[in-house]
Symmetry: C2
């Protein structure tokens, strides 16, 4: 099996295809990781997400340092995995945040099914308790494994 | 869509089927998350893993508090996700750790392909730089989403 580090271009390709990701945050030395759906904004080198206000949002408001893992695992010998270090930033639901929210909405739009459920299950009077956020990417590393399937 | 919390029994069922998981650790307020393969030990309520000595092992030696996320995602409306809070514990490669390592080996054995690559790519003189560890489970929460596929 060959394992090699991804180049910056290869990392960006994986980010562009991303949807499902795992987002890790921490509080008082306790890490917390959950599956989320994120969309990559190539021009601004960040990932956008949409969430109800639950534990992860509360924690990320306290400590914005996060880690995102994105992967594509076919089998134990054929996989790509990306680790992103970055900072959580909430987009305010006001005039100042309007441009950024609109940009995020355009990224979400082609795959609305991935973010609608979180909001859809809430009573309408609580829908304001959802946030749009972005992860500003500080550093990305990626690895790819491949082995000829004919090999033992 | 219906989302419901899993019972303790349902959580154990997911743990028993687990293999691929995402393990989050942290250092100095910076979370880190990577894909790993873990095997559940029902009798001892822990997860066993096998790893080369890299960043995650170094970090978990410093702060053993970890979070493991295990999921089974068919599509946005049909998924199960489990979040495990626990403590990292390295199994010593000596007489004291022998019984536990043997137990872990028996759990790994049915699916050797998932842990061999990590060791297989190392030169034989460096294979001692691998560790067997377990995550002692403190708390598990799980959720399941389901929607009739005929619904819009």
């Amino acid at each position: 099996m060959l394992i090699h580090d991804l180049t910056a271009d290869e990392c960006r390709d994986v980010l562009r295809r991303a949807g499902l990701a795992r987002l890790a945050c921490e509080r008082d030395g306790q890490p917390y990781v959950v599956p989320v759906h994120l969309w990559y904004d190539d021009d601004h080198n960040c990932l956008y997400g949409f969430s109800t206000v639950g534990q992860k949002v509360v924690w990320m408001r306290q400590n914005p340092r996060v880690c995102v893992e994105i992967d594509d695992i076919d089998d134990p010998n054929h996989w790509v995995t990306l680790v992103v270090f970055g900072a959580y930033e909430e987009i305010p639901d006001d005039a100042a945040g309007r441009t950024v929210r609109e940009r995020a909405r355009l990224l979400f739009e082609p795959r609305p099914e991935w973010w609608l459920p979180a909001a859809a299950r809430m009573p309408s009077h609580e829908r304001h308790a959802t946030v749009v956020y972005r992860i500003r990417i500080d550093r990305v590393t990626g690895r790819r494994a491949a082995r000829n399937r004919a090999q033992p």
